[in-house]
Amino acid sequence: MISQDAKKKLQAIVGEENYLDSKQSLVAYSYDATPNYQALPDAVIKPRNTQDVSEIVKVCNEYKIPIVPRGNATNLCAGTCPLEGGIVMIFTLMNQLLELDEENLTVTVQPGLITLDMINAVEAKGLFYPPDPSSMKISTIAGNINEGSGGLRGLKYGVTRDYVIALEVVLPNGNIIRTGGKLAKDVAGYDFTRLMVGSEGTLGVITEATLKLIPKPETKKTMLALYDSLEAAGRTVSKIIANKIIPTTLEFLDQPTIRVVEDFAKIGLPTDVGAVLLIEQDGPLEVVERDIKRMAEICQEENALSVQIAQTDEEGTALTTARRSALSALARLKPTTILEDATVPRSKIAEMVREIEVIAKRNNVQICTFGHAGDGNLHPTCMTDARDKEEMHRVEIAFEEIFEKAIQLGGTITGEHGVGVMKSPYLAWKLGEEGVEAMKTLKMAFDPNNIMNPGKMFAKESRKRVVVNR
């Protein structure tokens, strides 16, 4: 609950029109893209600038009101669900591109700018911002930074983390700090910039970010390879990398996914194949042509059933559509779609996907897997119905087993979606109790009153690992 006193103070900062607490507003900001989570905040607030944010945070710190910063709530870990009430802070009034510095190759933006809007502005100048989460049409830069988002181009170019070079942050005591700068080299003190990336709104509010840009690649080519076994596709992935080729994109779909995609999109994929690889390379024309040719050969050597190189940009787009429609197709099957995010070293992909199949069968749940083969980031996706409590229980067990296996193979519980509430019980599996303890100590130092996105990242109770070695 927010006292009348605190409410008055908050309204005085942003103006009454930017403080919303009608029932309708509370409902509209009670959820994010994570299935099955919903909780009403006490109010929604729209700061207009950094100063507003600082003053809001001070009031909240004084009255111990939780703050949930919210981009566009596309995250899949319940990271913006206000489970402990408080205020949801939104950045619709802080969504400007502040500066495009063509000399230093940087772009400086406000937190609420939509990722794609920024990408378009940057590309119009012949520059390139590689991180491209599938949600970029609607995700915000601050959301990307706080989740450490990655995309299809992550293999070659890295993820959001690799492009954030300077931040302005409002700390939980209201202090405004600046980290990093337009510098390639900087070792003055702790790397606070990196610390903030992936911090999921638990350490402070990001109010400005400077991102690194690179020149736009001149050309791009796409191809699609079909396999009758998962192993063959897996071997191809390893062999491409072993041949010292780093493609922009190396995406993978398993058989159940292919079947569903074809059912839905009718693009002529053979439904009896075991796996599909979607491969893309960009850069100077000669390099692209050489790499694509060599990769096509490797696909053949590993017994691909067919290798299809797109001749035109349009054909290329049609092929990527096959991959991108995966989620759409799956989402239409059943009411609840749980898109998970286990990651393993890329050499273990085939093994992991096999294991997912076994786990799904054992628990009698429907799981399809697709993902980023190049970086080992898999999205086992479960189609279920949240109303079926009994099935949901089995789904939970299945995912637990999947995370377990991922860790066992040297992987992690989340490659790009973040911990939030969803994965918090499993965080210790990855970090160990000591690791979680160290992180908690850090959080306490920044935010002693625990007002920043409370309940996220650190679970009240960790899930015990039942089986460590099988």
């Binding site: 309708q24 409902v27 959820y31 919903q38 709530a73 596309t74 609607i138 009411p335």
Partner: protein, 445 residues
């Protein structure tokens, strides 16, 4: 809040619980992909409650008992254009339009309208649109008003300004209505000019066959020129779109049945519509009547035959078309594009006219804010959306602004007036332009 109001809200909540399709409500996976497509979300500066994801969440919250169906809730649903731009953007294949229709229908049934509004609704939904004779009568009155010079006097003396808000401007952009005698003698069969390639049935509509009768005549003309034999069943009625979108679902169902009956009696390959808004409801008859065992299959069969005029013309091929050199741009009708999926055929037809330079405008697929009676009920938002649209239209430097739906056409004409472009730009229905181009080419040959 009064006790009566409380009671009403409670009852409404119960009706929502019983009447809403819960399976569909939980189909939304809240990914937010629909947000950028939604005009009200954008125009409200990114208000989640004014987005499709938000509106679905609100409906679900009412059903779940998290929230009362309060005034805010009703207002939010009323603010939705019903343009359904959110549907093609949605990976889950949400049938947002159906949810909206259901919710509005439920709200409408519980609504205590003030007496004048009640009377007006009764006249519009029960006495006017479903009754072709009455439609003709009202149009005749309008004709009388327009042709006797009263209109000019009223305009000159600013009498029309007394009418609320847009109505006065609307009045100025209404088409010149045909005379009553012309309206009475509508054809029921038109032969194809050459050997018939196809036999088609024409859905003539209510507004289209009175106020926009010239456009219907153009339609028959070009269909015949394109060698289609056309039947126009006499017993057909208003499509029911206005009813369905205003929460008068029972009325819409009644009209649907009358139309199915009328068109079952003729044999034709397609049922052609030339108004995006009507066509979209015609293809949804299957859904509208899905729970009626007697009609479900018949409705499905009817809907399967429905096609937009431009799709058919593109398929059968048009005779030679030419116009004075001019730049043309096209504003999509939301329902034509988002529900019927028609967007390339009209563009290809326009591009095939000799003399025409086709320039695509920015966001041509975004709603113009007309949306049935939205531009009267939600005037402020509607005009905000329209002004953005006119800026985009103006940027194309087009002299001819083409649409495919009467509501959109009026809205465009209104927009042209608001932007002060009357001298340079004209708004026209696509079939009127095509007919003009055929005639022009013939005149030159």
């Amino acid at each position: 809040m009064s006790a009566a109001n409380d009671k009403r809200q409670q009852e409404l909540a119960i009706d929502m619980k019983q009447g809403m399709d819960y399976d569909e409500l939980i189909n939304c996976m809240r990914c937010g992909f629909c947000l950028p497509a939604c005009p009200t979300y954008r125009e409200s500066g990114g208000n989640e409650a004014a987005s499709p994801r938000g509106r679905i969440a609100l409906m679900k919250a009412v059903v779940d008992g998290i929230m009362e169906p309060d005034e805010d809730f009703e207002k939010q649903l009323s603010q939705c254009l019903g343009c359904r731009a959110c549907e093609p953007a949605c990976p889950s294949g949400m049938k947002y339009g159906f949810l909206l229709e259901d919710a509005r229908d439920i709200i409408q049934k519980k609504k205590k309208h003030s007496l004048p509004v009640k009377m007006l609704r009764n006249v519009v939904f029960n006495e006017l649109f479903p009754k072709p004779n009455r439609m003709r009568m009202v149009s005749s009155l309008l004709w009388f008003y327009q042709s006797t010079g009263i209109q000019k006097i009223a305009q000159a003396t600013h009498l029309t300004k007394i009418a609320p808000g847009n109505l006065s401007a609307m009045e100025r952009v209404l088409p010149k209505v045909p005379s009553p005698s012309k309206m009475k003698n509508r054809p029921s069969h038109v032969a194809s000019e050459g050997v018939a390639k196809k036999k088609v049935a024409f859905f003539s509509g209510c507004l289209m066959d009175t106020m926009f009768m010239d456009t219907n005549d153009s339609t028959l003309y070009i269909l015949s020129k394109s060698n289609c034999e056309i039947v126009i069943p006499k017993k057909q009625n208003c499509c029911g779109a206005l009813h369905a979108h205003s929460g008068e679902k029972d009325g819409a169902k009644q009209l649907a049945k009358e139309n199915i009956l009328a068109f079952e009696k003729v044999e034709a390959e397609y049922i052609i519509s030339n108004a995006g808004g009507c066509g979209a409801l015609l293809v949804d008859y299957g859904h509208l009547l899905k729970d009626d065992p007697e009609w479900a299959d018949r409705a499905k069969a009817f809907s399967a035959k429905v096609k937009d005029i431009s799709e058919v013309l593109y398929e059968v091929g048009m005779p030679k078309m030419r116009l004075e050199p001019q730049t043309v741009t096209y504003q999509d009708s939301c329902h034509l594009r988002n529900v019927m999926g028609t967007f390339s055929a009209p563009r290809k037809l326009l591009q095939s006219i000799e003399g025409v330079t086709f320039t695509e405008m920015k966001d041509a697929d975004r709603c113009c804010g007309s949306a049935g009676v939205y531009n009267i009920i939600e005037q402020e938002m509607s005009m905000q959306i329209l002004d953005v649209k006119m800026k985009d239209a103006k940027a194309t430097k087009a002299r001819t602004l083409v649409t495919a739906n009467p509501g959109c056409l009026l809205q465009m004409k209104l927009g042209i007036e608001r932007a002060g472009l009357q001298k340079d730009v004209r708004g026209i229905h696509i079939v009127d332009l095509l007919a003009e181009a055929v005639r022009y080419a013939e005149g030159q040959a």
